[in-house]
């Protein structure tokens, strides 16, 4: 098998592999599958048959215009398809396949093979949307064939790029040709096939190995890089109400939270609890229960807080499993949906304090992934009924969680007024929550001086504050009513990434809320802070979709490559299929939004014109389109006719018809066919090379070369007939292509 035949065959095989991947990966209409299969078979038979000197592929339409018109028609078909079927992605795939079928029938230039290669790359990428395990062998096959195709492409490119050692007509009496020159005699042997395929596979294996290993190699030096560790300006380990100032809206990402048991977002957002504070001294909250003690590690890197909950009770109650990728922070707190019971991950040690907060022993220096299992508390019916007798809390609870700062009489009075109709602690809490949410204004832009009593300032004077003011007010008000409560800090995640189904938590999502201890239910979460105006989700746009998609890819990279979890890798392969549908839905939606915007603008401008003129505008638009098409056609026709009827303007000066110009035109055309003339080669020698490389064209090339030599170097003026002859020959040459005719 000669190199060029092998090149053609491997190109067609490459197209076949990507087509199989596409068929397996996405649903395609049967007629398209049928036509593509037929086209592939024909092309393959044609490529194989070329060995025997015949071609089965009909080369009926040879003119470039025909192909351009067909491509345009296919494009219009694609537009109509995408508008009617409402599936932009699949319409695009169908368009791609139609393009590939057309290319398969139009493999004439070397460039056409490259186009085919590009189409197959897009097809493989599209097939990845619905990838499953079958994708792996196809990718390997595609890789090997792709390497082969490019390899053969390079080997069949004979001149120009290779270092050229010319024919030595010297005393050695032997004719030396570079390897690429007489490749007509070179064959693809079994050994070459084995070596090249083996090399391709080895490279693939090495690449996978490198991608698998390198990110996981520890550098042995903990990164102490100030720039990468996020200062938790939003979340802090003590809550100080006294210092006022405009809060920063820091958009840096603190963590990403993936809910393992559900693929949809919470309506109100996800609370991610960090720490709880029990003691308020009138200005700031501190954690008196901050003494930590370690949790013993159980098998599978699990740290469970209460072993008794690990049994059947856990299965019966609703619980959350979250996978959290935590960015480097300057706090050792582990976040999670309240209330965390189990933490699992590659953690050196986990500690817990009296407030139920989880800690690492030291803050992390690089992204850390862990899974937290939480049990959100619900209010039990026992707490909704009015108690027959006042409930007596445990002494420890009363000691820590009903403490109030001195001089809080005014606050206590307000609390009594607000909750005068409430019969249960839960109703009291609801009453206070509603009161705060209704009568106070949320703002982050607080200006003011050092305050002596920030709580009273908020409740009675300013009536404007942010989450910490709300939460403190609620907690202290409830405490004056005898309801144990505490302040919890953490993040309220609202930003949902649809592409990866996870929450993105940013520094600016830092939040504070209240936890209330109910006699039967235990600690429950309540949040008096109303949704801020600033928290309104920005309008969905392409840019946002793009950033989300990128963030998703980043998470995937971190998860799949950096965080070393083989189980997760398998899960990802399974999940790709599910996610693929969602992604394609999102992409489609984005395009629809874009199209909708364009359509809206058009409609608006049409409305501006008025309904009377709208019809005229449409007519004008259609006329414009028709004119454009007409001009395009004329331009194409002129271009074609320039090539064919060049002989008409003979006898011109250099640049428009002289023999030197014709010769240079011939050289430039030959170089598009992969036959470039090196500058140090003489005209006769080059014509000899053409005879070996492209026998069909050699008579034409020799004729032009000899005329060129005669006038250029012999200074023999050419006759008019000779000029015409040269022009005709040039036209003949341009009607030939190097590959199709072999």
């Amino acid at each position: 098998m000669s190199l060029e035949q092998a090149f053609r065959i491997s190109s067609v095989l490459l197209a076949g592999v990507s087509f199989i991947a596409l068929v397996l990966g996405t649903g395609l209409p049967a007629w398209l599958v049928f036509f593509t299969t037929v086209a592939l078979l024909l092309a393959f038979v044609g490529a194989v048959g070329a060995m025997a000197g015949w071609s089965s592929v009909p080369q009926a339409a040879r003119s470039t215009i025909t192909w351009n018109v067909l491509v345009l028609a296919a494009f219009f078909g694609f537009v109509v398809d995408s508008l009617t079927s409402d599936e932009l992605l699949y319409a695009g795939l169908r368009f791609l396949l139609v393009l590939m079928i057309m290319k398969l029938f139009h493999l004439r230039h070397r460039g056409d093979y490259l186009h085919l290669l590009a189409i197959t790359v897009v097809m493989m990428l599209a097939a990845a949307l619905g990838a499953d395990l079958w994708y792996v062998p196809l990718v390997i096959a595609y890789f090997v064939l792709g390497v082969w195709t490019l390899f053969l492409y390079g080997m069949t490119r004979p001149l120009g790029t290779q270092p050229f050692s010319p024919v030595a007509m010297g005393p050695r009496q032997q004719t030396r040709y570079p390897s690429g020159l007489d490749h007509g005699g070179e064959k693809v042997t079994v050994r070459l096939l084995q070596v090249a395929s083996g090399l391709a596979l080895a490279v693939l294996g090495l690449t996978v190995l490198f991608f698998y290993m390198l990110p996981r190699l520890d550098t042995k030096h903990p990164r102490i890089d100030e720039g990468t560790v996020i200062r938790t300006a939003g979340f802090s380990q003590s809550v100080d109400l006294g210092a006022l100032g405009p809060m920063k809206l820091d958009p840096r990402i603190v963590m990403r939270v993936e809910l393992l048991d559900q693929a949809s977002r919470e309506r109100k957002g996800l609370y991610l609890r960090g720490m709880a504070f029990d003691h308020y001294d009138g200005r700031s909250w501190v954690n008196r229960l901050g003494r930590r003690w370690p949790i013993h590690q159980m098998p599978q890197r699990t740290f469970a807080l209460q072993e008794q909950h690990g049994g059947e009770q856990m299965a019966s109650e609703p619980f959350y499993r979250q996978r959290i990728l935590l960015e480097p922070l300057d706090t050792p707190v582990l976040f999670g949906v309240p209330f965390i019971e189990t933490v699992r991950g590659k953690l050196p040690a986990v500690q817990v304090d009296g407030g139920g907060s989880f800690y690492l022993s030291v803050p992390i220096a690089k992204p850390l992934e862990y899974t937290a299992v939480s049990r959100p508390t619900v209010v039990l019916p026992a707490d909704l009924r009015p108690p027959s007798s006042p409930y007596h809390y445990h002494d420890a609870v009363l000691q820590y969680f009903t403490q109030v700062p001195p001089q809080s009489d005014r606050v206590a009075a307000l609390a009594r007024t607000v909750a005068q109709h409430a019969r249960t602690p839960f109703e009291q809490a609801r009453a206070v929550q509603d009161y705060l949410a209704r009568h106070y204004r949320y703002s982050l832009e607080l200006v003011g001086s050092e305050q002596t009593n920030p709580l009273e300032e908020f409740l009675f004077e300013r009536k404007t504050g942010y989450c910490e003011h709300y939460a403190t007010a609620m907690a202290i008000m409830l405490r004056t009513l005898g309801v144990p409560s505490r302040l919890a800090t953490g993040f309220l995640a609202t930003e949902w990434n649809e592409y990866g189904n996870y929450y993105v938590v940013r520094q600016r999502d830092a939040h504070a809320w209240v936890e209330i201890y109910l006699p039967h239910s235990g600690w429950i979460v309540m949040d008096p802070t109303p949704p801020a105006d600033e928290n309104v989700a920005p309008a969905e746009g392409l840019w946002l979709a793009w950033t989300k998609l990128m963030d998703h890819l980043q998470l995937r990279w971190n998860r799949v490559v950096v965080q070393y979890s083989a189980a997760d890798q398998l899960a990802m392969v399974e999940g790709v299929q599910v996610n693929g549908a969602a992604i394609s839905h999102k992409v489609r939606k984005s395009f629809q939004i874009l199209l909708g915007t364009v359509a809206g603008v058009l409609e608006k401008s049409a409305n501006l014109l008025g309904t009377a003129t709208r019809d005229r505008a449409i007519a004008m638009g259609l006329t414009g389109l028709a004119l454009l098409g007409l001009f395009l056609g004329i331009w194409l026709f002129r271009k074609q006719s320039q090539r064919t009827f060049l002989g008409r303007n003979a006898q011109g000066k250099y640049g428009d018809g002289s023999i030197t110009w014709i010769y240079e035109e011939m050289l430039s055309y030959l170089s598009t066919q992969g036959l470039q003339k090196p500058t140090h080669i003489g005209p006769l020698q080059f014509s000899n090379i053409i005879r070996q490389q492209w026998t069909e064209a050699s008579s034409v090339v020799e004729a032009i070369t000899s005329l060129y030599c005669k006038e250029r170097f012999g200074k023999v003026p050419l006759t008019l007939e000779e000029h015409h002859l040269a022009h005709q020959r040039l036209g003949e040459l341009r009607n030939r292509t190097r590959f199709a005719n072999q």
Partner: protein, 313 residues
């Protein structure tokens, strides 16, 4: 008979004896038509002598062969004056140099003194003995041979003498098919003797005149110039090509164009001839290898230079 036909008939005639070497025959003719001398450098037995002999036979020219040995004297080449008793005077007896085609076999085996006696003959086509100048017969061509594989007891040709050869050529072994034909041929002791002349010496002189008339475009002269300049400026050569070398290339290119039936030169002619015409006129720099006559290395360097100079378009 046109010039093309004449040249063709000479080629065909020689090819009857020298099988499978049309290129060597063509270049020998080029050398003849450019009024040059030829240095054949090859191992024994590839047909150097036969080539020279059959060329002489085809041209209807006189042919002399001188076997160069270490004890050969200049007078053995140019001739000697002998006292004639009858005439009571010294009489010059002409040496073997007085022939149209002179084969100087194994020229590097003789002493420099004897070698240099060829100098005047080769460059001026005349010799001077005893203050008497004798013109040599025209056409005059020296075909010298030397064996590249043997160096013991040889005197390598001085640069000045090498410069006087138009080209240095290897014949090379014949291709296997051709060699089979040679072996299968009816053995003949002196195959060249059986050749019949196809052109006369006068016609050769006319052909030489036509070769001078071949047109060479200015751009090609510049091309030769840039090749020559390149050999002088490269670090790989300690001695570049002399102006005589450039002139030789120009003459050889014209002769080749004539042999190929053209009335004008092409860049291809120059490209093809440059390694043969130039490589024995340069000295390879010490950094590029030892040996005074490192011809193979010189050829490679010249070839590289040719490949680096763009041809005129």
């Amino acid at each position: 008979m046109t010039s093309t036909e004449a040249i063709r008939s000479i080629q065909d005639n020689i090819a009857r004896v020298i099988k499978g070497k049309p290129h060597a025959i063509e270049l020998t003719l080029v050398c003849l038509l450019a009024r040059g001398h030829l240095l054949l450098e090859d191992v024994p037995g590839v047909g150097k002598t036969t080539l020279a002999h059959s060329l002489a036979r085809s041209l209807d020219c006189s042919f002399k062969r001188i076997q160069f040995t270490s004890d050969l004297l200049p007078s053995d080449i140019v001739g000697v004056s002998i006292f004639n008793r009858q005439k009571q005077a010294f009489e010059f007896v002409r040496g073997p140099i007085f022939a149209n085609i002179v084969l100087a076999d194994e020229i590097n085996r003789t002493t420099p003194k004897t070698q240099s006696s060829l100098l005047e003959a080769m460059s001026e086509a005349q010799i001077s003995v005893d203050n008497q100048t004798y013109p040599l017969s025209q056409p005059f061509m020296v075909i010298a041979t030397q064996n590249p594989s043997e160096y013991h007891g040889t005197f390598p040709l001085p640069e000045s003498q090498l410069d006087r050869f138009l080209m240095r050529l290897r014949i090379g072994y014949p291709a296997p098919d051709e060699e089979r034909k040679i072996l299968a041929r009816t053995p003949s002791l002196r195959p060249a003797e059986e050749l019949q002349p196809v052109v006369t010496a006068q016609e050769v002189l006319e052909l030489q005149g036509q070769a001078d008339q071949v047109f060479m475009d200015e751009s090609l002269t510049d091309y030769i110039l840039s090749l020559v300049q390149a050999t002088r400026h490269t670090e790989l050569l300690s001695l570049g090509v002399s102006p005589r070398g450039g002139l030789a290339l120009s003459r050889a290119a014209k002769a080749l164009a004539l042999v190929r039936g053209r009335t004008y030169c092409l860049p291809d002619d120059i490209r093809e001839l440059a390694p043969i015409v130039l490589s024995h006129r340069v000295m390879v720099a010490r950094s590029q290898g030892f040996g005074l006559q490192n011809f193979g290395q010189a050829e490679r360097i010249i070839q590289d230079i040719i490949d680096s100079v763009p041809v005129p378009v």
